[in-house]
Symmetry: C2
Subunit: 344 residues, 2 copies
DNA sequence: TTGAAAGCGATACCAT
DNA sequence: ATGGTATCGCTTTCAA
């Protein structure tokens, strides 16, 4: 592949001139003369010259590449990470940066090899592995690589984060149900008490309080880790159990959309009509919601904004640690309705 | 950040020795002596040395990075691309390669800047934009960058591809329905006649023939591009129309899962029970299938294998152009059942 | 087994 | 406005 030196030779100018011309650089407002610049450009185009980013990144010691950890579908079937990534890549392209994928299965050492090896200018991390994050952030700090945690926030790690205001969303969900007349609500979820569950449950409890509802009448339930089945099945079992009690809830909020969709399924299996006999709300607004019957009412998390915000933060304020919380949006579709007078 | 030269100085050896030691390189089976090597390694570890991949890639002219185009969620809501990507990243990591994301919204020239600029060793492409592909492959050939098209195959482009045997899958789907007693089947899909629709329809027609069914009694329907609604709505309208005809089909095959899920929805709206009154089959096996009511019977495409195959092909046989077709698997869940005696 | 020196492609500084 | 030269960090001959 043709290099700047080759062009310089053919144009009978110095490599410096070629560099200045091709990069459109101006020192104190002036640069290479029009005609020389055009001559250089023409030669470059003729040979299909491509700027060697590896070389320039090396001299500069930075690579305009940003790493993405955990934005693939490896660990969990977290569908939405794709959206975060998509927004990030778009934001990156707009600023002439690009994204490099980091394997979710790599060890911390391997990650550091990739991150430092390519002199990445930052890393977007989506992980709930606290222990790993702890070691990783400590090392990243050592190498002065800015990082931002997206979709989670472990405040003890002292690292920047971008998240959505899920507590507020769930709070609104409770109000929505209350206004529809529901007085027997349940909040259910997986048993893993990662921050996101705690935060959302917090919003739930606050919502109850504001509506004058008591937690003991509107309890939270979590799946039983003892059950040796797939987590999805556990949720369905839990939901089915709740729906078969004699004073069953008239509304259920899932701590994420997957849970809500499984509640829909449990209801369907039991012949309970949603939303006539039961209202259901999720958190997320993931794509399967679009296909559920009926379409799911949910707290829409701004995945695209989250991806873009994370990326921009790394570029605009790499040093400063910040914790961004983006607004959510209760999307009312068709799984919520006025509470039936007689559920019993 | 500490460099090899720094280490060489501290260890009082040449930079060559450091390079050889750290890379564990052996020339004719021999290399740096045990103790010197250990000394070098210890110093490197002490300072947290990280190999500068930019520098070594530059000298070598290749970067052990592979580009991914169209594996984000930009254009369509193609959920499965994430799985392809995830498999690719895993396969890459296993071979000490890594993935770089290319923006789906970039122009061909911008893509080339990224691809050649970073001296990528290959590109995985997932796109159905024939015109763009045409120009891109022509240029990539010029720069000797191997590429592989995944999830599509435009045979006229003469480029390598990795795809799944969807025709065979749909053929099997027809047989499955036939064995359940169905004699009034429809194949429906979006109106866009990209290769994948044509291929799947081909499998459908072959299946019909093998079962002795006539196409005119088991027709294909496609949405009306004239309808100025969202494609999803168009599918639902089409499905609803078919389901309301006096001799409605007893089974419908969607040309992809999205279509099948929308058929489910249309049936649900009309109070038609699936699978008792209507059988439905999709193609894909995307994640929303897991949440549908009932769980969708579908032709499962091997996304993970496709991603891995595409990546391995680029590394193992970059020169040779090949067209790989991976086997699919009819996954029978709960949307297919014995044909009801009286549909009328 | 180890070292010296050239080169990869581009940038930056200092001259002219 | 343009050119010369050192430099970035590493690899690769070629000698010793």
């Amino acid at each position: 592949m043709i290099s700047m030196a080759d062009i310089a030779k053919e144009a009978k100018v110095s490599r410096t001139s070629v560099s200045l011309a091709l990069n459109e650089r101006y020192i104190d407002g002036v640069s290479i003369s029009e005609d020389i610049r055009n001559r250089i450009k023409k030669i470059a185009a003729k040979h299909g010259y491509r700027h060697n980013v590896l070389a320039s990144s090396m001299t500069k010691g930075k690579s305009r590449m940003i790493g993405c950890l955990g934005l693939d579908q490896s660990e969990e079937s977290a569908l939405f990470v794709g959206q975060i990534m998509t927004a990030a890549i778009k934001a990156a392209a707009a600023r002439d940066y690009s994204l490099k994928l980091l394997s979710s299965e790599a060890t911390v050492e391997q990650l550091l090899d990739e991150i430092c090896g390519y002199r990445l200018s930052g890393v977007i991390i989506r992980s709930r592995n606290h222990k790993m994050l702890e070691r990783l952030t400590e090392r990243l700090e050592h190498y002065h690589v800015p990082a931002v945690l997206v979709d989670t926030n472990y405040s003890d790690l002292g690292m920047s984060s971008v998240n959505s205001d899920d507590a507020e969303g769930v709070r609104q969900a409770v109000h929505h149900l209350y206004e529809l007349g529901h007085r027997r609500i349940n909040f259910i979820g997986f048993e893993d008490f990662t921050p996101f569950t705690i935060v959302r449950r917090g919003g739930y409890i606050q919502g109850l309080e504001e509506c004058g509802l008591k937690l003991e009448n509107n309890p939270c339930y979590f799946t039983d880790p003892g059950e040796l089945r797939h987590p999805f099945e556990r949720v369905e079992i839990l939901a089915a159990k709740l729906l078969q009690e004699k004073t069953r809830p008239t509304a259920i909020i899932g701590n994420c959309d997957e849970v809500a969709l499984l509640v829909l399924r449990a209801a369907w299996r039991l012949g309970i009509n949603v939303p006539d006999q039961l209202s259901v709300i999720g958190v997320g607004d993931i794509s399967p919601d679009l296909f559920s019957c009926p379409p799911l009412t949910t707290v829409a998390r701004p995945y695209l904004s989250m991806g873009a915000a994370a990326l921009n933060k790394l570029i605009d304020a790499p040093e400063e640690t910040s914790n961004m919380v983006l607004p959510v949006n209760l999307v009312i579709r068709q799984t919520t309705a006025v509470c039936p007078i007689n559920v019993e």
